[in-house]
Every structure is written in structure tokens, then in C-alpha cells.
């Protein structure tokens, strides 16, 4: 390819020379990026368009005769509470498992373990839901009674203890198990890529293995751990079947994690209500879906902001 020159000045123009292969590749990647935006925009447009009738309808025509905010607020609360429990439990656990695989376990244990954790991600969510309702729930009653006895002064464990174990605590724990493989897999990969140079720098200063991990591995993997946690949070916020099966719903807004009166989550509520809904009720459900969409966007934006806050210390420069 010859470089083009500006007709007026005779000087070469700023347009760079591009080989055919580069040109094809640029357009392929650009196309993939645009496609992603189109899909996302399509979802947003659908949600907004279908939600509008519910947004403008008078409250007495909506299901339950509640205003839209009064209908959706408990769902938002339940969604965030269950996802928060999942994240609080799964993040330290996932980082711990990832560190064990990447820096502690001998190779012949690390590889099968990594494989097993990845396998956890492939289990369908309905299986987790059934396991939560049939096994973990009943098994949790003893723990819940103990928590209520000793930590009943905390609002989380105020009781009365649910006899079936189908509580917010169990739903959160089931979600934690579900997002654990995502957090572990992402963290493991970034931990593994810690430059040998930096690990050796810490060791040569007289760091123990754990001190080396704190000095070199964790700071290097920080943005990866946050990304993994956000992917996990995204799954926890949107999880439908597991929560729908596990959680016994009464609609109240409460921080009490071990009683039988729980708010539902947005996704589970849509799944449970949708088959019997029509007309404005459908629009209301879609409006709640729109709220979930916005929550997810906000959470991701917040995560980006956290990762970028110390960008100059990321080691990327």
C-alpha cells in the first residue's frame, strides 16, 4: 500500500498505513463491540418501553393496590440483602481457595482442586436451589437457633427461628456457593500471573510466604479480585431459580435473616409471578426488572471507580 498525500499541500496525510489483515481485524473487533452495545441498548429499550405503563398508571390499578415504589422497594431490599450476604461470605472464601491453589498447594493437589472448583460453576442453579431447600435449609435450623440464642441482640438474628430453614440466611449462603467458583477462578488466574520478580523481591527482603502474598500477590491481584467479585455479585443479584425455591416469602422488609418472614428478590419475584400475570401486572414486573438493570449498572460503575482510584499504582505503567 502506498501512503497517500494531501493534494493541496503535497505533504503526507496523518492517516496511518494499514495492512489488509489489520483492517479486517479492526473491523471485526469494532463489530463485536458495537454488537454488544446494540444488545445492551435493546434490552434497555425493551425494559423502559414495557415499564412505562406501570410507571404512569394510578396506584389502585397496580397489583396489590400499592404504589409502584411500595411494590418494588421490598424486592430491591431483598435482592441487595441476599446478594450482600453471598458476597460477604464468598469473597474471602474464594480469595482463600484461589491463594491455596496458586501459592500453597502442591501441583498434584492444586490442579484437581482448580478443576473441581470450575466444575461447581457448571451446576445448574435449580440444582443449587433444590439442595438449598431440601438439605441446607433443614440443616441450618440448628445453626440459626444457636445464632438466635447467642447473638439474638443483633437485628440479623432476632428470630423467631424459621422451622423450615427457608430463610434469607440460607438463600444468601446458597448464592455464596454459586458465585464462589467465579470469584475463585478469576482470582486464581490473576494471582498466578504475579510477576516472579516481585515475589522474589519480597522473599529476598525476608518475607514469610504469607508476608510475600500480602506484599506482592494481593496488591497485584486486587483489581482482578474486584472484577471477580463483581461478576459474582452480578450473578447473585440476578439469580432466579435458586432463590425462588429456597426463600419463603412474606414480603416484609426486615434485616432478620433467620425468620420465616422474608422479602423476595426482584428476579425470583418475576419468575414466580409472571405465569399468572397479565396486563398492567406484567408491566409492573418489567418495571422491577428495569430497577434491577439499573442496580447492576450502578454496582459495576462503582467497581470500576474503585479499581481506577489507584490506577497509577496498578503496575500497568
Amino acid at each position: 500500500m502506498t501512503s497517500t498525500t494531501d493534494a493541496a499541500t503535497g505533504r503526507p496525510t496523518a492517516r496511518p498505513v494499514l495492512q489488509v489483515g489489520d483492517r479486517v481485524f479492526v473491523n471485526l473487533t469494532r463489530g463485536a463491540g458495537v454488537l454488544l452495545l446494540v444488545v445492551l441498548a435493546g434490552v434497555a429499550v425493551f425494559l423502559i418501553a414495557e415499564a412505562v405503563p406501570a410507571l404512569i398508571a394510578p396506584s389502585d390499578e397496580l397489583p396489590g393496590g400499592l404504589t409502584l415504589i411500595a411494590y418494588i422497594a421490598p424486592l430491591v431490599f431483598g435482592t441487595i440483602l441476599s446478594a450482600a450476604i453471598a458476597l460477604v461470605v464468598a469473597t474471602p472464601l474464594g480469595v482463600g481457595v484461589a491463594l491455596f491453589i496458586s501459592h500453597y498447594a502442591p501441583l498434584r493437589i492444586a490442579q484437581p482442586l482448580a478443576y473441581l472448583v470450575d466444575l461447581l460453576a457448571a451446576v445448574p442453579s435449580i440444582v443449587y436451589g433444590l439442595w438449598g431447600a431440601a438439605v441446607l435449609g433443614p440443616a441450618s435450623v440448628g445453626l440459626a437457633t444457636w445464632l438466635n440464642e447467642w447473638f439474638g441482640w443483633l437485628p440479623f438474628f432476632a428470630g423467631p427461628v424459621s422451622a423450615t430453614g427457608r430463610t434469607m440466611l440460607v438463600a444468601g449462603l446458597v448464592l455464596a456457593v454459586m458465585i464462589l467458583p467465579i470469584i475463585t477462578a478469576v482470582s486464581r488466574e490473576v494471582f498466578r500471573q504475579t510477576p516472579k520478580l516481585h515475589e522474589e523481591a519480597a522473599l529476598a527482603l525476608g518475607a514469610t510466604r504469607w508476608e510475600m502474598i500480602r506484599m506482592a500477590v494481593l496488591p497485584f491481584g486486587r483489581s482482578g479480585v474486584i472484577s471477580g467479585a463483581m461478576l459474582g455479585l452480578g450473578r447473585a443479584l440476578g439469580e432466579t431459580m435458586a432463590v425462588a425455591i429456597v426463600l419463603s416469602v412474606s414480603g416484609g422488609v426486615t434485616l432478620n435473616l433467620i425468620s420465616s418472614g422474608n422479602p423476595s428478590t426482584i428476579a425470583a419475584n418475576i419468575a414466580l409471578q409472571f405465569p399468572e400475570s397479565s396486563g398492567l401486572a406484567v408491566n409492573t414486573l418489567i418495571a422491577s426488572g428495569l430497577v434491577l438493570f439499573v442496580i447492576t449498572l450502578l454496582v459495576n460503575a462503582a467497581a470500576r471507580a474503585i479499581v481506577n482510584r489507584r490506577r497509577e499504582f496498578s503496575g500497568a505503567n
Partner: protein, 259 residues
Amino acid sequence: MAKTVDVENLSIYYGSFLAVEDVTMTIRAQQVTALIGPSGCGKSTFLRSINRMHEVIPGARVEGRLALDGRDLYGPGVDPVGVRRQVGMVFQRPNPFPTMSIYENVVAGMKLNNRKASKPVLDELVEMSLRGANLWKEVKDRLDKPGSGLSGGQQQRLCIARAIAVQPDVLLMDEPCSALDPISTLAIEDLINELKTEYTIVIVTHNMQQAARVSNYTGFFNIEGTGKPGRLVEMDETRTIFSHPAEKATEDYVSGRFG
């Protein structure tokens, strides 16, 4: 401070592979000892065995004796972590912690040894170490900036500051200038000359002019062929090694006839 390293019949193994065979030498305190030799001759492995850094590779072990002022570093019950606090190391490529500021990099070793140091103590330590590494004037106004933003030569001096901040007895340098330009190299060589008044310094280098410039003693390592262990051919005062060495192989190597 500076201590003597006595090595007696030291052999270094990776699993069943013998990497370095039967090294006996004395590394004198407050002197610079250079280790030269062709690639793969085991000089870096030997250097790393002085602070047990070669043990990061699973299966690494040694036979023989390596003592720091009479104390065997491989004796029973000796913790390699403790050894590394006494024997500092500077690597081939500058490796300041990218997630830490210049200040944090310098105090990183200190934080491991003594977590409760007060701010004024740390401030003083940082200034002393950076002055010791001839870097203070260049970075004193940006101590809170990331260490990775410095030039390669400055980063290497930052790593030296980090190593001397814990006041080790011995300072090991594994080709510290091989990734640097001539001007930065000169700065490091000047620094080595100043540091030897306080530390015992061992430097591995591929650059024979550098060995001749900075060291008082030179050890020449060689290897007979691939798969064979590296051996110390001879060790003597640098002047002697470069003018009339005892061994023919040394003369061939330092005169550039092979390697």
C-alpha cells in the same frame, strides 16, 4: 555489620541434578567479590544459595557448609526467612513493588522486621537509605509517587535502597546493571564502591570490565558442557585474575578467547 562468608565444599542440587559442584571460597567483609563466567555456569545459582533464594525452586538442596561469621546458614533449625533478613539481594531487573510508593518500597523490609516503627523513625530510615543509594536528591519531592514511575537506573537504585534499609550483613547483586544503560550503570558502580565500606558485596556480572572496575576479588566459574555441574575454577584478587591467572581457562575467558 559487614560479615565474612565462608564456603566449604558446597554443592547445590535441584532434585537429583547437580547444578554447582564443590565450591570452596572465602568472601571477605567490606570487599567487593565478583563472580564471572559463561552463561549457565552456576554463578547465579551459587549467589542465590548465599541467602537461600535458590530454594524458591522446589527440590533445591545443598551439601557442604556455608557460614556467615562462623554461623552455618544451612544448619538445623535455621529459617531461610531469617537468613534473607541478614543477606540482602538486588536482582537482574529492577523490581520495585509496583503497587507501592517510593517511600513504601524503602520501608517494605523494615515493616517485616519491626511493625511498630514510628513515623519519624521511618522518615529518617527512608532518607538515610535513599541517600545511601544516591537517589535521595532525585526523588525527595515525590516519595509518595509509585516506584514504577522512575527510570530503570533509578528503579535499580531504589531496589538497592530497599535492600540496605534493613541493614543486612551481606549484599548480593545478580547482574544488577545488565538491564541498564551505560550512565545508569556508572551510577550503580559508583554506588557499589561507596557501599563496600559498610557491606560485604557479592556481584555476579557478565561484563568483565565491570568486574575489573568494581571488585577486589574475582571468582571464575566454568562448566565443562551441558548437563555437567558448574565449578569454581579459581578465585583470587581481581588484579591477579585479570593479569596472570593460575588457570589457562581463566586466562582464555578474561582475554575474550572463549565464552
